[in-house]
């Protein structure tokens, strides 16, 4: 009995300590997609493919999907385009690349459910008779019937389950742009994404997940370099074992760069690297700098202005705001030169929004949709965002019943789905 109890306790301890991981499937094995004659899809084709689709043949993902393209710039003249499908069930999505071959459109990638660790390979074809001919026309004439014949599998298994997507209507597009903001640069480590929170790699990936903007956490190194890092200390939640412990502010950037790697192997990025990635390599239009430290905001403000000017010079819409989560940050903000014209986002009361002349009010979701307060802020020409909204039922309600201009979430794909499928 003693032995059995001991074995049970030890087993439970080890099972409990075992970290859950998601093995991302390798979707590059589809011979047809790898055919040397397969060519990229033109811009007009990609644009015409976006929309809300009915799902048939399988109930694994719900009844509707919102399909939207995004891009990431890899280098000079090298851009990768992804089509993402956002589903209404289990916070599921797929991310595929697209090609054309012999008059067919091919999509190859993977799917994932954020409520679990389920993932797998997914592939679609659009036959000439199912819309490919129209879509590949240099000027696609819409609306046209588009049918995506798909197969998906579990894990690394060859996809065998069928799924069919039929174009229903265009994506919802409100009168004013709606901000789908991703927490921690795109998502948290606990949601088992293949890249680490608050990393450049995450920022490059986040548009695939439906984001139009990001929230990132800013701290300073010992030598005054603003970096992206959420927690107070170097810990195993965020980083691999390095031998360094204690507050991250105790180390210089050179030390962190040399010895610390984020949980998926990336380096801790400087704020400059993060802003540069967002500006030059992604379609993101909004960056929320969440200040996680107590100290002068001057260096952050300088980078904020520098990158907003660069964006203006490129003709690229990009708003960068300093987040003010608490009274301490408000006081630091009010000490800044030109704070009055510095774009900021205030999480506190409406009076604090006025005091700081913030352009955005961002209350916590736990107080509800607050439509009267949101209307009052919008009447002043300001915007209202809500954070951090992760419960799918509440995301749906806030989009349906609320008046917010944006939602910050760890599940931007869920926000994207609920926003784009609106009638």
């Amino acid at each position: 009995m003693k032995n059995i109890s001991a074995i049970l306790i030890v087993s439970l301890f080890f099972l409990g300590c075992k970290k859950t991981q998601v093995a991302m499937p390798d979707s590059s094995q589809w011979a047809l997609f790898r055919d040397g004659a397969a060519a990229p899809l033109p811009y007009a084709t990609r644009q015409a493919m976006e929309g809300v689709y009915d799902i048939a043949g399988n109930d694994n993902f719900g009844s509707l999907a919102a399909l939207k393209w995004s891009y990431v710039v890899n280098g000079n003249n090298d851009t990768t385009y992804h089509i993402s499908g956002f589903f209404g069930k289990d916070i599921a999505y797929f991310i595929c690349e697209g090609k054309q071959l012999n008059g067919q459109i091919l999509l190859s990638g993977y799917w994932r459910k954020m409520v679990s660790t389920e993932t797998g390979i997914i592939r679609f074809t659009i036959d000439p008779a199912n819309g490919a001919t129209v879509l590949l026309n240099p000027s696609p004439v819409l609306p046209t019937a588009i049918i995506l014949d798909g197969l998906f599998g579990n894990g690394q298994d060859e996809p065998k389950n069928s799924i069919t997507l039929s174009h229903n209507r265009p994506l919802h597009n409100g009168a004013a742009p709606f901000n789908i903001l991703a927490h921690r640069g795109g998502g948290r480590n606990s949601d088992l994404l293949p890249v680490s929170e608050n990393s450049v790699e995450m920022i490059l990936k986040t548009a695939e997940l439906g984001s139009t903007g990001i929230e990132i956490d800013v701290r300073f190194t010992k030598d005054g370099i603003p970096i992206l890092y959420h927690d107070n200390d170097i810990n195993l939640r965020l980083t691999q074992k390095s031998g360094l412990v204690g507050p991250i502010e105790n180390y210089t950037y050179a030390q962190l760069n040399a010895f610390v790697r984020l949980i998926n192997g990336e380096r801790i990025p400087t704020l400059r690297q993060a802003l540069s990635a967002a500006l030059y390599k992604t379609p993101l239009t909004f960056i929320w700098l969440d200040t996680k430290y107590i100290g002068s905001l001057e260096r952050v403000q300088a980078l904020q202005f520098e990158f907003m000017e660069l964006a203006t010079g490129l003709g690229r819409p990009l708003q960068i705001v300093i987040g003010l989560p608490a009274e301490a940050q408000v006081n630091m903000f009010l000490e800044l030169p030109d704070y009055n014209i510095t774009p900021s986002l205030c999480e506190l009361s409406l009076a604090d929004v006025e005091r700081t002349n913030s352009m955005i009010w961002a209350p916590r979701f736990t107080e509800g949709t607050q439509n009267e307060n949101v209307a009052a802020i919008q009447a002043q020409g300001k915007k209202a965002f809500v954070w951090t909204l992760d419960v799918p039922e509440f995301i749906e309600q806030f989009i349906r019943d609320g008046q917010f201009d944006g939602i910050l979430s760890n599940f931007p794909s869920c926000v994207a789905y609920n926003y784009y499928v609106q009638q």
Binding site: S5, L12, V115, S116, N232, T366, E367, Q397, D401
Partner: protein
């Protein structure tokens, strides 16, 4: 293997009804977790507290280690059937269970019980600025316990408990959603020891390994997913 399991179950069912009531038991072992029949007693109660450790990879720097008060009461229905009630209270979030358990001796050393409890939890977060949240839910907890009475007045119990979510309701401001989805939530294994320690006072100490999709103490911290989360918990109780 199937045959062995069958004979084990048969042995448990047909085992001698009772090794006569141990009149010394009550004086020696006022047990709460240990599955011992209530021959002469009508009530057993304990008061204590538990500590749950929340998972760092999900709750991040928020490490919830608020002690949770625990009050347990057993009420005799018949010698081998007991009603059990438990209140777990943290003021802002509380959990109440009530159920019936069948208790049976296997021999003089070993005992077992099986039963089911229905649980209701509710949480309220309105005292902090920026929060206007409340939530509640119903669960059911079937369980089975095996007890070993050692020679040194030490009672060791291993309890396996499953949980099924029956109902969940959450409100934030004017927004509300209700889920009546019923699903297997997870299981908990508890190893408890109960022993007299000072002037015939009895202490219980329990270590639980809980693996759940949803745990009521974390309702305000993060969104439930289909993934299991591991929670270690320690319970200390004074048997009254």
């Amino acid at each position: 293997m199937i045959r062995i399991t069958f004979y084990t179950i048969l042995l448990l069912i047909l085992s001698p009804a009772a090794y006569s009531q141990d009149s010394n038991f009550v004086a020696k072992h006022r047990a709460i977790f240990f599955p011992y029949p209530m021959y002469k007693e009508k009530w057993r109660t304990s008061l204590g507290f538990s500590f749950l450790t929340t998972p760092e990879d999900i709750t991040e720097e928020i490490r919830l280690r608020i002690p949770c008060g625990e009050f347990t009461v057993l009420r005799k229905i018949s010698e081998k059937v007991q009603a059990q009630g438990r209140v777990s209270f943290q003021f802002l979030q509380n959990h109440i269970t009530a159920g019936v358990h069948y208790v049976k001796p296997i021999n003089k050393k070993f005992y077992w019980s099986a039963g089911n409890d229905i649980g209701y939890w509710f949480g309220l977060l309105k005292i902090v600025e920026g929060f206007n949240s409340k939530a509640s839910g119903w669960l059911t907890y079937p369980s089975v316990s095996f007890g070993w009475m050692t020679r040194k007045d030490l009672l060791i119990t291993l309890k396996a408990q499953a949980s099924f979510n029956l109902y969940y309701q959450s409100e934030n401001g004017e927004n509300k959603f209700v889920s009546t989805q019923k699903y297997y939530n997870g299981e908990a294994f508890t190893l408890s020891i109960e022993q007299p320690f000072y002037q015939r006072k009895h202490l219980l100490l329990a270590f639980s390994a809980i693996s759940n999709k949803f745990y009521w103490q974390t309702w305000s911290l993060f969104y439930k997913t289909n993934r299991r989360v591991f929670y270690p918990q320690i319970t200390v109780g004074f048997i009254l």
